[in-house]
């Protein structure tokens, strides 16, 4: 029963969806504060390469090394986000062009490739990787076992992160302030909220989460370093935020939906399906486009949930 195709696909949806959960959650926080960051792909890749570097070099037991590696990945993502934050918040550059620049700077063929080369990381498998750790009785339980329990710690942490984000944005004063900053920075400023500080904090948090998302690739899904490892997951994460109407809970669902399509080529190949692999590999991208069309054309027109201040620099003198 656990080898039935549906269970396998759902289990791989959770596995492949997890990096998307982190990255999209991070982008969601940044966008809720009004900063659009199109550099997710670049931040993920730098997180992936630095996390991988850390796990190869931190001495000590596996779990410890992995925790440190995730920390390093988050830090690397934060540093990348800082460039974007400085350019668009302090220097008021175009958020779209700056985000694209970040992806070119950090992404495949950029800093992540440079670091991977310079630290000679390619070719070796990770010395530690995230494995499923729950007792085997749970993991082999019918149906729910492979889907929910045969997963790594990163999956469970991502659930906690989503729950925290829901609570933070919906139930805390800080979270409500973030929403005010994203919806109407001028009004938030008048209320005494420091727009610049909020925007910086959430853009950086978004970078940290994107870094962790990248590390989910290099430390769990394909525990090695290859240039361009994430294969556009960062862009899917950005689409996911739109698709989820800027709601953390929906991000989780959406990530697993896209995760299912990302995992599908491997699942089908393993089962000896002989249709050209390119057709399956194109699925996540085509589904992203279809989902976006659906979301933008339905009653959701006029950007259901998009923060009104998204993408616009806030200049106090010009409000």
């Amino acid at each position: 029963m656990n080898s039935s195709i549906l269970v396998v696909v759902l289990a791989s949806a959770v596995t492949y969806g997890t990096p998307l959960v982190y990255a999209a959650l991070g982008e969601l926080l940044a966008e809720r504060s009004g900063v659009l960051n199109l550099g997710v792909e670049g931040m993920m890749l730098v997180g992936a390469v630095m996390g991988f570097w850390a796990v190869q070099h931190v001495p000590g037991s596996g779990p410890l090394a992995l925790v440190v590696a995730v920390g390093v990945a988050a830090l690397a993502g934060t540093v990348m986000a800082l460039i974007h934050a400085f350019l668009v918040i302090t220097l008021r550059a175009s958020q779209i062009v700056s985000g694209l620049a970040l992806t070119i700077f950090a992404g495949a063929g950029g800093l992540s490739a440079y670091l991977g080369n310079d630290l000679s990381l390619a070719g070796a498998p990770a010395s530690h990787q995230f494995n499923a750790f729950l007792p085997s009785g749970l993991r082999t339980a019918p149906v729910v076992g492979p889907i929910l329990f045969d997963q790594t710690a990163l999956v469970y942490v991502s659930w906690v992160a989503v729950a925290l984000a829901m609570f933070y944005l919906g139930r805390t004063r800080l979270g409500l302030n973030v929403r005010a900053v994203g919806e109407s920075p001028a009004a938030a400023d008048v209320m005494g909220i420091n727009v610049t500080a909020y925007r910086y904090a959430h853009t950086l948090a978004g970078g940290a989460l994107a870094g962790v998302g990248g590390a989910a690739f290099s430390l769990a899904i394909t525990p090695q370093w290859v240039d361009g490892l994430t294969q556009g997951a960062g862009w899917i994460a950005i689409a996911l935020v739109i698709f989820a109407f800027w709601r953390p809970g929906l991000v989780l669902l959406g990530a697993y939906f896209f995760g299912a399509f990302s995992g599908l080529p491997f699942t089908l190949q393993a089962r000896g399906v002989t249709i050209a692999p390119e057709l399956f590999q194109a699925l996540p991208y085509v589904m992203t486009v279809l989902a976006l069309v659906l979301v933008s054309s339905a009653g959701a027109r006029r950007r259901l949930g998009a923060p009104s201040g998204l993408g616009v620099a806030y200049v106090r003198e010009e409000r």
Binding site: Y114, E278, V293
Partner: protein, 377 residues
Amino acid sequence: MSFPLRIERRLRQPWWLSAAVPAGSLVVAFCVIALVLLATHHPVGHTFTRLLDSAFGSRRSLESTFVSGTPLAFTGLCAAVAFRMNLFNIGGEGQLYAGAVTGAGAALVLGGVPGPVSIAAMILAGAAGGALFALIPGLLRAFFSTNEIIVSLMLNYVAALVLDYLIFDSLSYWRDTSTPDARVFPQGKMLPAAATWPGLHVGLVVPLGFLVAIAIATIVHVLYARTRFGFEVRVIGDSPRAAAYAGMRTRRKILAVMALSGAIAGVGGASQDGDFRHVLDPKGLTQAGYGYTGIVIAALARYNPVAVCAIAFLLGGLQNAGYTLQGADFPSGLVGVMQGLILFCVLGAELLVRYRVRVDRPSHRPGPAAPVEADAS
């Protein structure tokens, strides 16, 4: 806030600023690049000299720079044309592939017709292929207001997979299946000799594609600066609301500009077939990331089509040097890092054109904030 720096909008922009600031930001960018090199223990001076040398140092390196710069001129124009209207087509990459497929198809179908006919057909077919592919995000944006950034980007991946499929995983029209050997090691059909684009020999060989790009840039410049169409595009770009009130048809402009943008990238794809590769070559086309560099070029040129060609040549030199030098003391990835840093610096310096930065002396610091004025928005 008691921050000692204040940023004020400039009321007048001195004429020299718009030249001095980009130049200054380039200097800053190269300083930062030097720091990156130092931090990773690469000799700075040596790397820069070798870079310049292998990009512009000899006739041969200049010729290779033209080879690298040609596709970049097309993708740069593709981005500039669309970005000018705040239409962020980042699908230049995929549209170039589409043009390469249709351009190669036209050359193969026509076979041995005279050269000029074949070349014209390839340009037209490439333009059509790129335009049609760009119309997917264009139509979705115009009719469903779907985010064109993500759609055009996703289609880049799809186009790359289609290329792979045509050559590696199917018995398509583009694949060479004439010999048993070619069936085992998949490759594209060689294009007929008539489909080879002649270069212009002026001491060194300038590819026909680059000249086509300059011609297109000139046409686009006239179109955007001198016609009603271009005026409306610029108004829509600067203020969509004003355009709507003036009765401009935004939807049609989105379709037209997307098609134009894609067509330019598509001609770039045809030029890849005709100028350089003479075969539909998925690996070569997808490795270089022409589309993304095109965005950098468009931004550096401030969407000015003629400047795009010049900057494409310069960044082509960088890319060409990256290939030639690739190895221990010039790690791959450095080219992307340099492009990104240059773009960051130019973007950041834009502020200095529009605003002035003032240092507040403590004695001159204004007292408590002025009363809040009514919110204009």
